[in-house]
């Protein structure tokens, strides 16, 4: 009965069966997750970051738990474009959800080269531009914090996308995220995803050293959720609503009510990230909970939730 509730959404030119994605870097290349969840039941799927060349990633320790969250500094470890196409893409191509390949690099040319090679893949819905990774020395966040660079890289990559949709993933580590959001839209972004992680540090008080080999890592998990909800609402009100650009909201989502907060704040779709590490079927539980909410609140279309935030009483 619950399954019959329509929670489909329109996102970046596609109809998704539901608004729930799994976030890049927390769901591998889908095969790892398939033991625990029917990946075909997801609304969308975003791969781990792909770079032109394989990347080994950072030395360990790469993670540390914090109160209500964790830091990671994986360093964009990935198999590289060639092996991704040969080994991972065939499986991903069979998936029902809208699949977006998360693309990272150290130069604009690298990003463009990856997207050009994949733009012809029918099974892909599009790309997510990672210009917000805090854990690599070159590229990553250095693109994402300068509005001029955000616009330039978005324009160059969008040109290589052909008919595919381009999501630009924003970092929260800026003074005004609406400025970066505007730059991404000016460059041709079809959607925005926010937020990526916050740069953070944990110190071992016995050795007085940072716990992570990379010194710093990206904070994710429930700890960041209220900030993410605020930033989604800010970007929605100040930029995205008027521009007609959908937001993929993420940051600390682990329950349906978390997801609904993001929708009310202005997101069209949401992604489950860190929570999948703890409950690999978390996204499926969120989908089910969304349906329950729609029944309880007699919501005919999830679109009516997006940006429906009321004024404080």
């Amino acid at each position: 009965m619950n399954e019959q509730v329509d929670i489909s959404v329109q996102f970046a030119g596609r109809k998704l069966a539901n608004p729930v994605f799994t976030a890049s870097g927390t769901c591998g290349y889908a095969d790892e997750l398939a033991d625990f969840i029917d990946v075909d039941a997801l609304g969308g799927f975003i791969t781990k970051s792909i770079t032109l060349q394989p990347r080994k990633g950072n030395p360990t320790p790469r993670i540390v738990e914090t109160d209500a969250g964790m830091l990671n500094a994986i360093g964009l470890a990935n198999v590289g474009l060639d092996r991704f196409i040969a080994e991972k893409l065939p499986l991903i191509a069979k998936m029902k959800p809208a699949v977006f390949v998360n693309v990272a690099g150290t130069t604009i040319e690298e990003y463009v080269a990856v997207v050009e090679r994949l733009a012809g893949e029918k099974a892909l819905a599009g790309f997510e531009l990672n210009i917000s990774c805090p854990n690599v020395r070159k590229g990553g966040i250095s693109f994402g914090t300068d509005p001029a660079q955000v616009e330039e890289i978005t324009r160059a990559v969008k040109k290589a996308c052909g008919s595919k949709a381009l999501i630009v993933k924003l970092t929260p580590t800026v003074t005004d995220i609406s400025v970066t959001a505007r730059a991404a839209i000016a460059g041709g972004a079809d959607a925005l995803s926010l937020i990526n992680t916050f740069t953070a540090m944990v110190i071992d008080i016995e050795t007085r050293r940072p716990v992570l080999a990379n010194r710093t890592g990206g904070l994710s998990g429930p700890a960041v959720k209220p900030i993410a909800v605020y930033l989604v609402n800010k970007v929605y009100r100040e930029v995205a609503r008027e521009a007609g650009i959908p937001i993929l909201g993420l940051g600390g989502i682990r329950t349906a009510s978390d997801a609904i907060e993001f929708l009310i704040a202005g997101a069209t779709a949401v992604a489950v990230g860190t929570a999948s590490f703890v409950e690999p079927d978390c996204a499926a539980q969120v989908i089910s909970g969304l349906r329950d909410y729609c029944v309880r609140k007699k919501i005919a279309s999830l679109a009516e939730l997006t940006g429906s935030l009321a004024e404080p009483s």
Binding site: G25, T26, C27, G28, A30, E32, L33, A34, D35, F36, D38, V39, D40, K48, K56, G57, N58, P59, T60, P61, R62, I63, V64, E65, D67, A68, G69, M70, N72, I74, A77, L91, K94, M95, T207, R209, A213, G221, P222, T274, S276, F277, V278, E279, P280, D281
Partner: protein
């Protein structure tokens, strides 16, 4: 895409706690009962494989029962599951019974001590690749460092029940006598090999204990016991020996060097911080050599290990 691969079936399971008792200075032993489908899944648990235990919704013990050293961090919230290997797995009728020997070191393991008989534990597993018993091996040398004991104890059980043709000897090391995760301590630790340590003796496995401070058995690293045994048994056919080790990485490195130098097969069980245990987070990287090349590659402790061939691992890369 959605179909599960039966060959490496893993998943979320629940187990009923049969008992959960203090077994030493800071060691606890939990016995878990798997029934139904999980009983079948865990009956095939390989020694060295692991599970991810959810402690996030468990209660914090009363303040007066929290060890003083842990009081400061005891109330820290727990988000991620914690990886553990089992020290014993046995099939009893239609249930599978697993023993989880754990050391109370922080907020998660502290919460585990509040589980009581009849409580239900949530876990994911069996995960990773365990120890393998190669054809043609006649003698298995087990090397334990402190909390590296559980998977080695589990392996000793497997060798004792399914590979009776393999002679098994255990070398057990720790910082000091109280850091030996042994439930029953012998009245006196003998210097040489003996059946005095019940944990292994009940499986017919002779053992030798070493402590850094000499408070039990040999004074010095456990690897000295291994080296001495190899010297005393230098006439043995090395092709028929195999070394299995679990413990701190520095010990594993030393064991690997001893085995590799003598061209003796050796499997080591590695440890890394991991967020998920199922290949999603990519946290638990282990630097490994590529055969016939000077290049290295990061493998994942959770998926490619935790048991690795000792010749493959580049030790000491994790910053402490």
């Amino acid at each position: 895409m959605a179909q599960k691969r039966e060959s490496r079936k893993k998943g979320r399971h629940t187990a009923t706690v049969l008992s959960n008792v203090r077994a030493g200075e800071c060691f606890w032993k939990m016995r878990l009962r798997f029934s139904g489908e999980a009983a079948g899944v865990f009956a095939r648990f390989q020694p060295g494989q692991f599970i991810e235990f959810d402690t996030s919704d468990l209660a914090i013990p009363a303040t007066d029962s929290i060890p003083k050293a842990l009081l400061d961090g005891a109330r820290r919230s727990v988000l991620l599951r914690r990886p553990f290997s089992f020290s014993d797995v046995t099939v009893q009728d239609d249930a599978t019974i697993a023993e989880l020997l754990y050391c109370v070191v922080g907020p998660a393991s502290l919460r585990m001590t509040t589980l009581r008989a009849g409580d239900v534990a949530s876990l994911i597993g069996p995960l990773g690749n365990g120890f393998t018993v190669a054809q043609g091996k006649r003698t298995a040398l087990l090397v334990v460092g402190g909390m590296g004991l559980p998977p080695i104890r589990c392996l000793a059980r497997l060798l004792n029940t399914e590979h009776k043709e393999v002679e098994t000897i255990a070398f057990i090391g720790a910082r000091t006598v109280t850091a030996l995760p042994l439930e029953e301590r012998p009245a006196a630790f003998e210097e040489g090999l003996s059946l005095s340590v019940p944990t292994f003796a009940t499986l017919g496995v002779p053992s030798m204990v070493a402590t850094d401070d000499g408070s039990a058995g040999h004074r010095g690293p456990v690897t000295e016991c291994l080296t001495r045994w190899l010297q005393e048994n230098a006439d043995r056919d090395r092709e028929k020996l195999i070394v299995y080790a679990c413990g701190p990485e520095r010990m594993l490195e030393a064991v690997a060097r001893i085995a590799n130098d003598r061209q003796i097969a050796c499997q080591v069980s590695m440890e890394r911080r991991m967020a998920c245990g199922i290949g999603l987070c990519q946290s638990c990287a282990i630097e490994c050599r590529i055969e016939g090349s000077n290049e290295t590659v990061y493998k994942l402790c959770c998926q490619d290990g935790p048991v690795f061939d000792a010749r493959e691992v580049v030790f000491g890369t994790e910053t402490a």
